[in-house]
């Protein structure tokens, strides 16, 4: 199943992001699948240190290694896109 269709995978991703960024006041349900995570619209208010924490979370929990910030920005856009990257089919 392609990642963006896999609700369990997307829930795991959202939970990881909320935990790594310590956004305890936001629930996974409140985080939309198609919103740009690093935009104002996501309501997450993430910065570069959050990007590093998410990068580490992707590596430890999903075995995805993103070498630098350019790779990160290309891959970590929306929950749907990230899920598709992790699980292309």
């Amino acid at each position: 199943m392609i990642g963006s269709q896999d609700d369990a995978l997307k829930l795991r991703l959202k939970t990881m992001i909320i935990e790594e960024c310590e956004k305890e006041d936001i629930t996974p349900e409140e985080l939309a699948d198609d919103v740009e995570l690093f935009s104002d619209a996501s309501g997450l208010e993430l910065d570069s240190l959050d990007a590093l924490q998410i990068s580490m979370g992707l590596q430890t929990q999903f075995k995805i290694r993103l070498g630098d910030s350019k790779d990160f920005r290309r891959v970590v856009t929306t929950i749907n896109a990230l899920a598709d990257y992790i699980q292309p089919e």
């Binding site: 910065d47 240190l49 590093l52 430890t60």
Partner: protein, 380 residues
């Protein structure tokens, strides 16, 4: 007037004759260090202290510290009476091994009984040096990341000015620490290749280790052609990871340092930049300098010679500055090739003849800590 008497340093550059040749020729040497991060082997350059007999025993830091301080004492012919009036200011960004090793061994709480009932941990090195060399009882250990020993210099000068001590020993201490090395990798701040401050294609920091001992005094106690005119440290709360790239915090601390030193920007002969080659630090530093200097001053970075020595770079780079100018030059910046349009100004590529003058030394670190110091070597 606060005088800077000189000192000694252990770094990747080796003994004095060799290090002056490196600094004059724009050459350096690094080793490869590998780490396993998430099952992946990664390799980075590292500037290691040039010492053939090296091992990782706990006694090594103390041996290095005693060795470097003793050499500085011998060089300056300080007496035991001088030392009894000498306060100690240690700057280090790393945890003291005397406690971090037992903590490492006690992770499963199995070593409780094996630890002697004796104060260890932060301040241990300072305490050891005070006892070993019979220093004055005033000592503090500074941990303000990359500005640690630069802030120690400022406070040493202040305590000398207040007459509480007559001599001050500033020690910068940083040795290889796996957690720090891996932490910088996790922050994606390490360069996969070399360290190229202010270069268009700079890719990040290369870390290094250095142990330095620097003595200061007052002109009524001990004279020197070198004097400390003033320094300012401030905390920029823009981001915990460093200075604001717009340069506002950097420019404020530079301006304040010029003010307390009572000199104009146009009087500065050369600037020792922090120059870590991280994309944002170099940007913040250049934007800050541009707000204060009307034209580009001659500036350079010591990081390509000894690496980023973190808490040690304050006193270590100050000492190298004295040695270079005493030898008649200000060094160039190895690895600088291409001008970065966004930075505009470019560092000295080659060494510049220089025998005296006013010098600004800048340091910026995690925790928003920015420090700028102005020193002078007067004409003989």
């Amino acid at each position: 007037m606060i005088t800077i008497l000189g000192g000694e340093i252990l770094s990747a550059l080796g003994e004095k004759e060799r290090r002056l040749k490196h600094l004059s020729d724009g050459t350096y040497s690094t080793v490869e260090k590998t780490m396993t991060l998430m099952g992946e082997d990664l390799s980075f350059a590292y500037y290691t202290i040039d010492d053939g007999e090296r091992n990782s025993a706990l006694s090594i830091p103390l041996r290095y510290l005693e060795d470097v301080v003793q050499k500085a004492i011998d060089k300056l012919s300080l007496t035991s009476d001088d030392l009894s009036r000498c306060g100690l200011f240690v700057g280090s960004a790393s945890n003291d091994l005397s406690l971090s090793l037992p903590l490492g061994q006690n992770y499963d709480n199995s070593q409780v009984e094996n630890v002697a009932c004796k104060r260890i941990g932060n301040g241990y090195y300072a305490d050891h040096l005070t006892t070993h060399f019979g220093l004055h009882d005033f000592s503090l250990t500074y941990n303000t990341a990359c500005t640690s020993s630069a802030n120690a210099v400022i406070d040493a000068a202040s305590m000398l000015e207040g007459g509480i001590i007559d001599y001050a020993l500033v020690v910068g201490f940083e040795m290889f620490a796996p957690i720090s090395f891996e932490g910088f990798a996790a922050m994606q701040l390490l360069s996969p290749g070399k360290i190229a401050p202010f270069d268009r294609d700079r890719e990040g920091i290369v870390l290094g280790e250095a142990v330095s001992a620097l003595f200061l005094s007052r002109d009524d106690v001990a004279s020197s052609p070198w004097c400390f005119h003033g320094g300012v440290s401030s905390c920029e709360t823009h981001s915990v990871t460093g200075a604001n790239p717009d340069g506002v915090g950097v420019s404020e601390v530079i301006s304040a340092a010029l003010k307390v030193a009572d000199v104009k920007e146009s009087d500065i002969t050369a600037v020792k930049a922090h120059g870590t080659a991280s994309a944002l630090n170099d940007m913040a530093e250049m934007n800050g300098m541009k707000k204060v200097f009307t034209a580009s001053p001659d500036f350079f970075s010591f990081k390509p010679y000894i690496g980023h020595t973190l808490g040690s770079c304050g006193s270590s780079e100050l000492l190298l500055m004295l040695e270079c100018v005493d030898a008649g030059f200000v060094p160039g910046t190895p690895n600088f090739v291409n001008r970065d349009e966004a930075l505009d100004w470019t560092p000295l590529k080659e060494k510049m003849p220089c025998e005296n003058g006013l010098f600004m030394l800048n340091y910026f670190g995690f925790g928003g800590n920015n420090t700028s110091i102005v020193i002078e070597k007067v004409k003989s």
